[in-house]
Amino acid sequence: MRTISKKLNKEEIEAFGKEVDSLREEVMAKVGKEDADHIRFIYKTYRYTEVLGRGLIHFSFEPISFVAGTLLLSISKIINNMELGHNVLHGQYDWMNDPKFNSRTFEWDIVCNAHQWKFYHNYMHHTYTNVLNKDHDYGYNFTRLTEGQKWKPVHLTQPFTNLFLALNFQWGIGAHGYRVEYLETPKKLRKKKTLKDYKAVFFKKIELQMLKDYILFPALAGLNFPKVILGNLLANLIRNLWTYAVIFCGHFTENAESFTTEEIAGETKAQWYLRQLKGSSNLEGNNLFYTMTGHLSHQIEHHMFPDMPAKRYREVAPRLKEICAKYGQHYNTGSFVKQFGSVWKRIIAYSFPDHIANKVMGKRKKYLEPSIVLSQPSFQVSLPTEEKTISLT
């Protein structure tokens, strides 16, 4: 894959890593009351929007209040998933020592079980960002996004399957989770904890969510239940579309790079930082937009510092950008429309065989040069001894 960043030598990479590290330390030292107040404010907003939203859906007799209620409920679900859930589950607020905001105790309003999510997101995705065959989020199993993935005729359908995914994103995330957990279990242990067990966790969560949104709350409305079902359905749909859009912009824009398992063998912390930078892309907007994306608008910062309270990414971003400029590294950012457009360009391009894809995408180098092998890595991404075969189709 093409890289538009300057190729750095070993010393330069380490120097880059040092600067990133000291930036992290400086900002983390400031974490305190301000961040606690922020997440509490977010929590309040999430609760209030849910009460108001559900209340309006319930007691609406005309379309306007129904629409308002549905929108409020969507906002509530978005906040719950993004700025609250995603960030709390990353352990960004564990230091508060408050069970409400602790990654061990938090559960969110989505069909995906928080514990399973932490495994494949916090661990698999954040460690192996954009590494083919290791990062299961890369294309979510059916989207071909680089020459590194072999073209098959079925990929011709990927614009449609992606549309389908967008509408049902929470289901994609949930179903994806238990599968990853299974695939990542060493083959020998797979019998003990079978796919079925992992699936059961997922199904339990589905049941709880479905009961809540489509049986309990509608039942409370008595004969008015179809209206409540519709409101919940729409709210979940809006949340799905929004999260899909934001998350796809995070790693699949045109210039976001991908990597191979060979490239990351023996990676140092500095090289890991660099990979996070090259594999992620940001969105530009205002503060409200940042909050509604759960600060995944700052995907680069998030990937470098996943456990930093997310609002801090706003102050980190300009300084990280400077460091990147100093080292000639491309800092992938743009407006939502531009980035989302480029995601779809890529999805469509790679649905075709390479010769067409390359024409659409412009001339692209196959991969980054294999990264430098260092003698004594201080930080290692361990690879499984026996390569697993995970098919991507």
Binding site: K33, W95, N102, R104, F119, N122, K199, L208
Partner: protein, 361 residues
């Protein structure tokens, strides 16, 4: 699908999933910060200066407060720079009084005691836990009692004295209260009043650092004990104070029924361990491997590296920090015992890493 239909098999869990308590807490909290259905919260309704470095806080708890016995302590949680921190304080008031009262002396380097003294104002809300502790009067009151207090160790004893008064005690009580100087005497007016009103009580203040005319000076010694409690043999003893005083008392009073309570700052119960090299702690839920030295508690060492497991008292009382150890061995800091290598639950605030560990965190 063995869980399906889950709701049918575990309706309770479904109810929990709907977070009725969180909702109730949230909405009640919006009405009044003291209201809750899960946490005992108390409003500070009065603050009294005891000495230059100790204050008494009068607290009005919410309906979840279950009461206490004289001599017991309660976990108090405050938020400092966004972070919730818990410490235990003895209740210095009497259970029959309308409001609760804790008396807090600033400890050198003590995070919470300093915060309470400096920053807590009337109207603030403190989170309390349940009162607990064995430092209480036995059902059958002894004929003679010796109470040894050191510094802020007077607080549970103050409550016990009030309790004796309420019980119309008619034996004989001697209180020896060791403090650095006259100005350090906590709850003095109340103690003096108790002495005045109760024939059975003799109070002796003993100044250990700064002598003053009209006051006895000295430390806890055999001579002092003999002087004030001539017939020690038939006496029950309660000791509460700093650890050097406790050790001394325990050795002087060997063979007598002694109840003691020791208040330590978190981390004080650590033996001084120096280690070469590090051990690996693998956190199995977050898939991280962390190197620690194994010199202090696992909790401390993890926090130093930016990992914050849930914790409470940090001294092995509340069990908030319990986590499953899947492999490796730890040393229990409270008694110095080394654990087995296998799977077991440990309190990471009072456990030190001995070998490579695998924790479910």
């Amino acid at each position: 699908m063995k869980t399906f239909p889950f709701i049918y098999n575990q309706p309770k869990e479904f109810l929990n999933f709907l977070q009725p308590k969180e909702w109730a807490d949230f909405l009640l909290g919006e009405l009044n910060p003291r209201f809750s259905v899960t946490t005992t919260k108390a409003k500070v309704i009065d603050i009294k200066e005891e000495t230059a470095d100790a204050k008494t806080f009068v607290l009005k708890p919410n309906w979840l407060w279950k009461g206490f016995l004289s001599g017991q302590h309660v976990p108090v949680t405050v938020e400092i720079a966004g972070r919730r921190v818990t410490r235990f304080y003895s209740l210095s008031s009497h259970p029959n009084e309308k409001y609760l009262q804790i008396t807090v002396k600033r400890q050198k380097g003590g995070l919470v005691s300093n915060f309470l003294n400096q920053n807590t104002k009337k109207g603030d809300i403190l989170d309390l836990g349940e009162a607990s502790g064995e430092f209480v009067l036995s059902k059958e009151l002894p004929k003679e009692l010796l109470l040894l207090a050191g510094g802020s160790g007077i607080t549970p004893i103050h409550s016990i004295l009030k309790d004796l008064q309420a019980l119309n005690y008619n034996g004989k009580v001697t209180l020896l209260y060791f403090v650095r100087s006259v100005d350090d005497i906590i709850l003095k007016s109340s103690i003096d009043l108790l002495e005045k009103n109760n024939q059975w009580l003799t109070v002796q203040y003993i100044l250990s650092d700064v002598p003053k005319e009209g006051y006895v000076s000295g430390f806890l010694t055999k001579e002092i004990l003999d002087q004030y409690v001539p017939n020690l043999k038939s006496t029950s003893v309660y000791v509460c104070g700093p650890s050097p005083m406790q050790t001394k008392a325990l050795s002087l009073l060997e063979g007598l029924p002694v109840k003691s309570e020791l208040f330590l700052l978190p981390g004080q119960n650590l033996t001084n361990v120096k280690k070469e090299g590090t051990v690996d702690v693998y956190l199995s839920l977050s898939h991280k491997t962390i190197q620690v030295k194994g010199e202090r508690s696992i909790l401390d060492e993890l926090e130093e590296q930016g990992i914050y497991p849930q914790s409470g008292c940090r001294m092995g009382i509340c069990h908030t920090c319990v986590c499953k150890k899947q492999a490796g061995s730890v040393t229990d800091l409270s008694n110095g015992e080394k654990s087995q290598l296998g799977e077991e639950n440990i309190q990471i605030c009072v456990s030190r890493a001995e070998s490579n560990l695998e924790l479910e965190l």
